[in-house]
C-alpha cells in the first residue's frame, strides 16, 4: 500500500478529499461554464462567484440564484437546500456548441432538494468538468410576512460540510397576478413529439389518442404558464390539413357538412379553456387567454367550393356549431383567433394569409370576416378575434384592414419604424403584439428580457416568439444554440414533460419585475418610469426604442428586399450585441427600489 510507505502523501490525499469541493453562488443572470469560469457572453457583468448572496423579492414571486459546486479533482458530494421558504433545485445541463467549441448551461434538470452527485457528471460527458451549477428557485408566497429570510445551501464532500446562506429580503409589495404584456411561445402541430419523446411514444399504445399525449400537450402549456407566459400550437398545415386533436371531426359535404365528433378536440382543449390544466400551479387554474382556431382556407369548408354557395354553407354551419359548443361549455375567457398561416410560396393556396406581401390578397380577409359574422352572433359571449401577422405591408394594412383585423402581430424590427401607429391601433381597440425570435444561449443572459421590455416601451400588448419547442436534433451534445427553443424534452432524465430552460426562468423573473413596475404607473408618470428603465437597461431614452422612419418606408414595399430593409436603419448595438448581462438586473433593482418606497 503506497500510503504506508508515504504517510505524508496519505495526509495530503485526505486533505484533498476534505477540501475537494467548494460551494459558491452567482446571481441568476450570470452563468458559469463546466470549468468554473463565467461564460464569455456574461463576462460584461463583471461578477464572480461569491460565498454569499442577498436577494430582494416582492411577494407572490420567485427569487433565483445559481449555486456552483467546484472541485479541481473528481469528487462525490451532496447538496442540500433548506429553509423557511419553498425551494426548487435544478441541475444545469452544459450544452456543447460545436460552432464556438464552448459549453453553455441552459436545460434545467429537476433534482431533489437534497441531491447526491458526482463531479464530473457522468451523463454530461465532460471529462475535464470541474464545476456544476444549479439553478435555485425560491417561491415567496403572497402570505409570507415581509422581512428577512435565509435559505441554507449545504454542501457535503469528503466528510466536510460547508454552508452558504442565501438571504432574501421579502418586500411588502406583491407582484400583480396579471402581466402588462403577454409573452407568447409559438409552436406548430404535434408531429415533433414523436422525435422528442420516443420512449414515451413507444411504450404508449395509440399514443396520439392517449391520455399521455394530451397530458404532454398540457404539460407544455403548464411550463410556459408557470413561467408567466402563454403557449400557442398551430393546428393546421400550409395545405390546410388539420390535426385531429386540433379540430372536431367533420362529416358530410355542402349543406350536410357538420361536426361529427368533438371527443379529441375536447380532450385537448377543455382543460385549457376551463383552466383545470393549470390546477396546482402557483398562478392558479386560469383559462388560456388566446388560442388558434383550426380555420384555414381548407377547413371547415372545402376549398373545392371556394367562391360558390357551398363554401359559405359549409363554413357557416360548422362555425355555428363551434360557437354553440363553446357557449354550452361556457368557454368565455379565451379569445379564439381566426388566423391564416399559409403563404402562397408553399403552393397550398393562392393568397398570403401570413405576412401578406401583395395588397391584392387583402379581399380574402374581408370575405372570411363576413363568413365569421354570419356564424358567430354579435352578442355571443364566445369571443373571437381576427389576427394577422404582418411585416412588408403592415403600415398599409393598418389603414386598409381597419375594422377587419383587430389583432396585429407585427415584426418587431419593422414595427419600430411605425411605432407611432401603436396608440392609433390601441385607440380603436385592437390588440398589438410584436414578434421575433429567441436569443441563443451564447448571447448575453439579458437578451431574453429585451423582447418583453420592447413591447412595454412601445405601449403594445405582447411579444410572440415564433418557435420555442424545437431544440434541434441533438441539444445535449451538439447544440445549435437554442434560437428556436426555451424548453427541452425531459425523457432523457425520466421526465415525460418539457424541462424549463434557464433563459425561460430569466424571462419569468423579468416578467415579474415588469408586472410590479407597471403597477407603479399610477403613482409616477409612465414616461418618467420608462425613461428611467431605458437609461438603466441600455443607456437609451424611450424615443430610441422607436427607430427613425427610414425613407424606404415611403416607397412601395414590393420594391423592398430583406437587404434593403436591413440597410434602411443601421443596427444599434445597444439593443443587440452591446447588451450586457446585468442590463435587466439594473431595471430589477429600480423596480424593487420603487416597491420599497411605494405601494401599488
Amino acid at each position: 500500500m503506497i500510503f504506508k510507505r508515504f504517510p505524508l502523501l496519505f495526509l495530503l490525499f485526505l486533505l484533498g478529499q476534505a477540501n475537494a469541493a467548494d460551494l459558491t453562488v452567482l446571481p441568476a443572470y450570470v452563468r458559469a461554464d463546466p470549468f468554473g469560469q463565467i461564460v464569455e457572453a456574461d463576462r460584461s457583468a463583471r461578477v464572480q462567484p461569491a460565498a454569499r448572496i442577498e436577494l430582494t423579492s416582492a411577494r407572490d414571486a420567485y427569487a433565483s440564484c445559481r449555486l456552483l459546486v467546484t472541485s479541481p479533482q473528481p469528487v462525490s458530494y451532496s447538496l442540500k437546500v433548506s429553509g423557511p421558504l419553498e425551494t426548487s433545485l435544478y441541475r444545469e445541463w452544459f450544452h456543447y456548441l460545436p460552432r464556438s467549441k464552448r459549453y453553455y448551461p441552459d436545460a434545467l434538470v429537476p433534482t431533489p432538494a437534497n441531491v447526491r452527485a458526482e463531479l464530473p457528471a457522468a451523463d454530461n460527458r465532460i471529462a475535464s468538468q470541474t464545476a456544476q451549477s444549479y439553478w435555485l428557485d425560491i417561491w415567496i408566497p403572497a402570505t409570507v410576512r415581509p422581512g428577512a429570510y435565509t435559505v441554507d445551501a449545504v454542501l457535503e464532500s469528503g466528510g466536510v460540510k460547508s454552508t452558504l446562506p442565501v438571504r432574501i429580503q421579502v418586500l411588502d409589495a406583491a407582484v400583480p397576478a396579471e402581466d402588462p404584456i403577454l409573452i407568447d411561445h409559438n409552436s406548430y402541430g404535434t408531429g415533433w413529439l414523436l422525435t422528442q419523446y420516443p420512449e414515451l411514444v413507444n411504450r404508449t399504445k395509440d399514443f396520439y389518442l392517449s391520455d399521455a399525449f394530451f397530458g404532454l400537450i398540457h404539460a407544455y402549456h403548464r411550463v410556459f404558464y408557470e413561467h408567466r407566459g402563454i403557449y400557442h400550437q398551430l393546428g393546421y398545415g400550409h395545405g390546410g390539413k388539420t390535426g385531429p386533436e386540433f379540430a372536431p371531426r367533420l362529416e358530410g359535404t355542402g349543406k350536410s357538412k357538420h361536426v361529427a365528433d368533438w371527443t379529441l378536440f375536447d380532450k385537448h382543449y377543455a382543460p385549457l379553456f376551463d383552466g383545470s390544466a393549470f390546477a396546482g400551479t402557483h398562478r392558479g387554474a386560469k383559462p388560456i387567454p388566446f388560442v388558434y382556431l383550426p380555420v384555414n382556407p381548407e377547413w371547415p369548408a372545402s376549398f373545392l367550393w371556394w367562391g360558390q354557395p357551398g363554401y359559405e354553407r359549409e363554413f357557416v354551419n360548422v362555425m355555428r356549431e363551434m360557437e354553440a359548443h363553446f357557449r354550452e361549455k361556457r368557454w368565455f375567457q379565451t379569445k379564439f383567433e381566426l388566423f391564416f398561416n399559409h403563404k402562397k410560396r408553399y403552393k397550398g393556396f393562392d393568397w398570403d394569409g401570413d405576412e401578406t406581401r401583395f395588397l391584392h390578397d387583402l379581399p380574402h380577409f374581408v370575405e372570411y370576416q363576413r363568413l365569421m359574422k354570419l356564424a358567430f352572433p354579435e352578442d355571443s359571449p364566445v369571443k373571437w378575434v381576427y389576427r394577422t401577422d404582418a411585416s412588408w405591408q403592415m403600415e398599409r394594412q393598418f389603414k386598409l384592414q381597419a375594422g377587419v383585423i383587430n389583432m396585429w402581430v407585427v415584426g418587431d424590427g419593422m414595427f419600430r419604424w411605425y411605432a407611432e401607429n401603436a396608440p392609433v391601433l390601441k385607440g380603436r381597440g385592437d390588440i398589438v403584439w410584436t414578434y421575433g425570435g429567441t436569443p441563443r444561449v451564447d448571447e448575453s443572459s439579458s437578451h431574453i428580457t429585451r423582447d418583453l421590455l420592447e413591447p412595454w416601451m412601445l405601449g403594445v400588448d405582447g411579444f410572440v416568439r415564433w418557435q420555442t419547442v424545437s431544440p434541434g436534433p441533438d441539444p445535449w451534445f451538439k447544440f445549435s444554440g437554442g434560437g428556436e427553443t426555451l424548453v427541452y424534452p425531459g425523457g432523457r432524465f425520466g421526465v415525460d414533460a418539457p424541462l424549463a430552460s434557464a433563459r425561460l426562468k430569466l424571462q419569468r423573473n423579468a416578467m415579474q419585475d415588469l408586472a410590479l413596475l407597471d403597477a407603479y404607473k399610477t403613482s409616477a408618470t409612465l414616461p418618467a418610469i420608462r425613461a428611467e428603465v431605458a437609461k438603466r437597461y441600455n443607456g437609451t431614452s424611450p424615443s430610441e426604442w422607436r427607430r427613425p422612419r427610414p425613407a424606404l418606408a415611403d416607397t412601395d414595399p414590393l420594391t423592398w428586399d430583406n437587404v434593403t430593409i436591413g440597410e434602411a436603419v443601421p443596427d444599434d448595438p445597444r439593443f443587440s450585441s452591446g447588451l450586457d448581462a446585468a442590463a435587466w438586473e439594473r431595471v430589477s433593482t429600480y423596480v424593487k427600489t420603487l416597491a420599497k418606497e411605494r405601494r401599488p
Binding site: 393546421y236 388539420t242 373545392l304 408553399y346 428586399d561
Partner: protein, 185 residues
C-alpha cells in the same frame, strides 16, 4: 410448365399493381385528360417568373417573397386537382408541377393539396432540379410510378396544352401508412 410460362409472360408484360397503385394510376390517367395545360401555365404571374429566373444575389429569399399567382387560373386548376383527388378511396393528393420557364433542367411545384404528400417537394424550395422521373414523363408522355421515399407512392402523368404539347405533369401521391399528425405545421 406451359401454364408457368404463360403466367410469367403475363407478369412480365404488365407488372402486377397493388390496389393503391392501380387506383393512383387511374387518377393520374384521368388527370391527363382533365387538367388544362394552358390554364396551368398562366398560374404564376409574369413578374414572379422574372424574379424566380433572375435570382437576387443579395437576398436568397427575394424570389420566394415575390412569388405570386393569378387567382383565377390558380383556383380553377386547384379545384380540378381536388376533384381528381376525390377519386381516391383513401387520402391522396394531386400536385401540379411545371418546368421552370427558360430553365428546362429545373421544375417547380405550382399547386399542392391538403395532405401535402409528395415524394419530390423539398420544403421551402421555390424551384428545384428536374428529377429524372419527371423528365422522362415530360419527354415521353408515359406515366411513371415512383416509390422512393418512405411509404409514399406517386404516379406521374403528363399535362397537355391546347396545341398538344406536354407543358407539365401531375403527381398523384398517397401513403401506405398515412400519419394524421404529419404536415400539421
Amino acid at each position: 410448365m406451359i401454364l408457368t410460362i404463360l403466367l410469367l409472360l403475363i407478369a412480365g408484360s404488365a407488372p402486377a399493381q397493388d390496389p393503391l397503385t392501380a387506383e393512383l394510376d387511374q387518377v393520374a390517367r384521368t388527370a391527363t385528360a382533365m387538367v388544362d395545360g394552358d390554364v396551368a401555365r398562366g398560374i404564376q404571374t409574369k413578374r414572379s417568373i422574372e424574379m424566380m429566373l433572375e435570382k437576387n444575389p443579395r437576398d436568397h429569399w427575394a424570389a420566394a417573397d415575390n412569388y405570386d399567382v393569378d387567382h383565377d387560373a390558380y383556383v380553377a386548376t386547384k379545384k380540378t386537382l381536388i376533384r381528381l383527388s376525390k377519386l381516391c378511396t383513401s387520402a391522396c393528393d394531386v400536385n401540379l408541377w411545371l418546368p421552370v420557364t427558360g430553365k428546362p433542367d429545373r421544375v417547380h411545384v405550382v399547386i399542392r393539396n391538403v395532405n401535402e404528400i409528395s415524394q419530390f417537394w423539398r420544403w421551402g424550395d421555390l424551384d428545384q432540379p428536374m428529377p429524372p422521373e419527371m423528365k422522362a414523363v415530360l419527354e415521353s408522355g408515359r406515366r411513371q410510378t415512383v416509390r422512393q421515399r418512405g411509404t409514399m407512392i406517386s404516379v406521374l402523368a403528363p399535362v397537355y396544352d391546347s396545341l398538344g404539347d406536354i407543358v407539365g405533369l401531375v403527381e398523384v401521391a398517397a401513403s401506405t401508412n398515412p400519419n394524421p399528425q404529419e404536415n400539421v405545421q
